[in-house]
């Protein structure tokens, strides 16, 4: 296994710090995603899907942590050890593209939400909000120059604030959610919940390489899974759309002002925390491509590019299509890594000279399949994703089948004395 190209600055994070960093990873797009799931499947089914989906993610997280438990390597180095150097480079590019676009998407969602909350309609006010968005993007880039230490401290300080907000939003919210008759089991709902956090799981090594010990890593995994379940379930009650009614009220009472201030702080804090994670996730990819620009400089550059994407490209249809595609590639890669890890554990009886090529090829097959489906049906993201995953798994299965059969046959042939 290859050690990270940059000497680690700290590997003394306990489970609380590791878990806090990951717990603040559910951004506004994630909250809206859960709200939409609740509208689509019903609140009860969504709650069950969240619990089951996150338990599956917990299991995946366990596997990912086990992959890197012996060495403190980041996600890209872990990927390189399974699909080779070239495959790792491609994966790094895909990850970077995705994270930087998510950076812009987070800012866009937050600013759009503030626009709704404050009922902004004039062009002048909208242009001010765009500047606020760009300013927040740059501020996040500035904070990121402090590295993992600053991220750790901001996450540890923000988590209680976010938790209190979620809790109070549930308690005092007048946004009602119907649960009666909505309980049920939905495979697509569970899959949707898994897909939401799977890219983060694949990138866990980037943060967990700072762990104090293996026990801290596993406990942190459990701890942040619990928080994420709580935040996702609580998102069903947040109902951001109902704030429009508050802000458009002609009478600005103290409670209205308090609500507006509280939700603004929540939105901004969530944006900063999420984008700090995005920057750090992307930094591992950046370091593998251009090691010279690693460290604080790399963090700043990623933040600057993300802000530029938000300011200049905004979120066009093309950009959303490409981001969905990148998501599919990343999730495919996650599944390939899991299967490859399991195969490594099971297949110990023979050498696998073409392991990395096979792993890389199955990822490519999955990506190509997902691309074809995505191009044909841009609205059917989950179908494209499932097709890609299915194609990768099927390809893997076929190759393993052929490999084992050929190996077994060759071994038997060698053991038989010369037959006339």
């Amino acid at each position: 296994m290859v050690r990270s190209s940059r000497a680690l600055q700290s590997h003394d994070q306990n489970f609380w710090q590791l878990g806090s960093i990951q717990s603040v990873g559910l951004g506004l797009p994630g909250i809206f995603y859960i709200e939409n799931l609740a509208k689509q499947y019903g609140a009860g089914t969504t709650v069950l899907s969240i619990i089951i989906g996150n338990l599956i993610l917990w299991l995946i997280g366990m596997v990912v942590i086990s992959m890197v438990s012996q060495n403190r390597i980041n996600a890209i180095e872990n990927i390189k050890s399974y699909i080779g150097k070239f495959g790792g480079l491609i994966a790094a590019l895909v990850f970077m593209f995705a994270f930087i676009n998510w950076y812009g998407l987070q800012i866009y969602s937050s600013i759009s939400d503030l626009e709704s909350i404050f009922n902004i309609s004039s062009e002048h006010q909208k242009s001010i909000l765009i500047r606020v968005g760009a300013g927040l993007g740059l501020l996040t880039a500035l904070l990121a120059t402090g590295g993992i230490r600053i991220i750790k401290w901001i996450a540890c300080l923000s988590l209680p604030i976010l938790f209190i907000y979620y809790l109070s939003a549930i308690v005092i919210s007048d946004y009602s959610v119907a649960f009666t008759g909505t309980w049920g089991f939905s495979f697509s709902g569970i899959l949707a919940c898994v897909v939401l956090q799977l890219p983060g799981m694949v990138n866990l090594p980037t943060f967990f390489r700072h762990s104090r010990s293996g026990a801290d890593s596993y406990l942190a995994l459990t701890y942040f899974t619990i928080f994420i379940i709580f935040f996702e379930i609580a998102s069903i009650w947040l109902g951001f759309s109902h704030f429009m009614n508050i802000s458009s009220a002609s009478l600005f009472t103290h409670s209205v002002v308090f609500h507006l201030v509280a939700v603004s702080i929540f939105v901004v804090l969530l944006l900063i925390c999420n984008n700090l994670l995005n920057i750090y996730f992307a930094s591992a990819c950046w370091e593998s491509i251009i090691p010279r620009f690693g460290g604080p400089k790399g963090f700043a550059i990623i933040g600057l590019v993300g802000t530029a994407i938000y300011t200049f490209i905004q979120i066009s249809t093309t950009m959303l299509f490409l981001v969905n595609l990148a998501n599919s590639y990343i999730i495919n890669l996650g599944i390939v890594l899991l299967i490859a890890f399991l195969v490594r554990i099971v297949v110990r009886h023979r050498p696998r000279e073409f392991e990395k090529i096979i792993n890389g090829a199955s990822w490519v097959v999955g990506c190509v399949t997902a691309t074809v489906f995505e191009v044909q049906n841009p609205e059917q993201n989950v179908a494209a994703l499932l097709s890609g995953v299915g194609a990768s798994a099927l390809f893997f299965l076929c190759i393993i089948f052929i490999e084992e059969t050929v190996w077994a046959a060759k071994k038997i042939m060698r053991s038989i004395p010369n037959v006339k």
Partner: protein, 424 residues
């Protein structure tokens, strides 16, 4: 790399040639306010009178700048280092704040003006709802931040690359100007014009040690200074023809440029404004970084300070730029820098005569002189006292009087002399 006696880290890039020193200074200056100064002088003088004013002003500047460089080259001192020698530790803290405030004000002013100009000159067909000024501001801010990251090393490369481009763009713009300025005034050399030349350039002069400490040798510094003065003199005179397209608020009159129909003029101005603002901002950030080293916690000082400063300034600019006028801050910081230059020159000549660096008492007197002159300029800026007399003249008078009072009058009294000796 050379270890600077007065800084906590080694000074990088100490082999800059005269050409590199020249390029850094001139790309940092050739911005609209400097050009507009020539036009303002022309409005009160004949053409020959304006030329003479610019010539005399630059000649005086050459001597002052030579003195500033001479006082700092031996120990490769920055502006803050020599401020510490002449104004004491407390004084240097104030100067650090001043450098940061000046950097902040100029960064905002330059980027706002350039964003506004480029937004009008560059026509990109976009959704009309998109705020192009914001996009341009963020674009310029991001470019400046990228180029700030490596400090003086990248600044040197940027300046060396950009200077010829700036010159070419400048001359192309001159060639394609729509109308030539008509020179109707008959006044010859004017003191107000002279004051304007000195007032505009002395603030920059006090910053020169920060850049010239990277010089290969004193000969390169002197050569660079001569070339800088000659070129800036030429640019100052040629700028007299820019009157048709630059207004009194130091902005390009885009309507005139666009109405001329000349694509060459438009493109050359775009190139000029873009490279000018980027180079000026990067140089400004480097200049402000010496102040940052004093003020900021040690964890934020070092190689990443340029990135932090650049990113911080860009963030502040994007959030609050163009929301309110910073002309007061700009004028006050400029006046303070001019006063600093005057105080340092005085201090240097007195030190040369006495053949030793200022004592604690002298440092205190220089600091009080600077503080008093700056305070009066602030009151002038906010119209609390009549501002009929130029701030430069007021500052100079107050400094001369204060320094004279402390050094000559008080030293005449034996008791006070004994007290001073005790303090030393």
């Amino acid at each position: 790399m050379v270890r600077n006696n007065n800084t906590s880290h080694a000074l990088p890039d100490t082999q800059q040639s005269w050409w590199q020193l020249t390029a850094i200074q001139l790309t940092g200056w050739t911005s609209l306010p400097i050009l507009a100064t020539s036009i303002i002088i022309l409005q009160d003088n004949s053409f020959l009178g304006a030329v003479l004013t610019i010539f005399v002003g630059n000649a005086i500047l050459w001597f002052i700048r030579f003195a500033i460089i001479a006082m700092s080259y031996k120990k490769r001192q920055s502006t803050l280092d020599i401020s510490r020698d002449y104004l004491g530790h407390t004084g240097s803290f104030f100067i650090a704040l001043l450098l940061l405030a000046s950097t902040f004000a100029w960064f905002l002013a330059q980027t706002t003006a350039a964003s506004s100009t480029l937004t009008h000159l560059i026509s990109i067909k976009e959704n009309p709802n998109i705020d192009q000024f914001t996009q341009m501001s963020v674009f310029l801010g991001i470019i400046c931040t990228f180029l700030c990251m490596e400090g003086i090393v990248l600044l040197r490369r940027l300046a060396t690359f950009s200077f010829p481009i700036l010159l070419i763009a400048f001359f192309v713009a001159i060639y394609f100007l729509p109308d030539k300025v008509s020179f109707t005034n008959t006044n010859a050399l004017s003191f107000s014009g002279l004051g304007l030349v000195l007032g505009t350039n002395l603030g920059i002069t006090s910053d020169m040690p920060t850049f010239f400490r990277h010089s290969r040798s004193i000969q390169d510094s002197i050569k660079a200074l001569i070339v800088i003065q000659i070129i800036s003199l030429a640019i100052g005179i040629i700028s007299l023809y820019f009157g048709t397209i630059i207004n009194r608020s130091f902005e390009i009159n885009e309507a005139t440029v666009l109405a001329s129909g000349s694509d060459w003029l438009r493109i050359s101005l775009i190139v000029f404004v873009f490279f000018s603002v980027v180079c000026t901002n990067v140089a400004n950030v480097y200049s402000g970084s010496v102040g940052w080293e004093i003020i900021a916690p040690s964890a934020l000082v070092g190689r990443k300070e340029y990135m932090i400063l650049g990113l911080g300034l860009t963030t502040i600019f994007v959030l609050i730029g163009n929301s309110f006028s910073i002309s007061h801050l700009l004028n006050v910081s400029d006046s303070a820098l001019v006063n600093l230059c005057i105080v340092l020159i005085f201090g240097y000549f007195i030190a040369r005569v006495r053949k030793k660096l200022p004592t604690v008492f002298e440092q205190a007197s220089y600091f009080i002189a600077w503080l008093l002159a700056t305070a009066i300029n602030v009151l002038q800026e906010f119209d609390k006292i009549p501002s009929a007399v130029s701030p430069l003249v007021i500052g100079l008078s107050i400094i001369v009087l204060t320094v004279g009072f402390f050094l000559i009058v008080l030293k005449s009294y034996p008791r006070i002399r004994k007290l001073i000796k005790k303090l030393q």
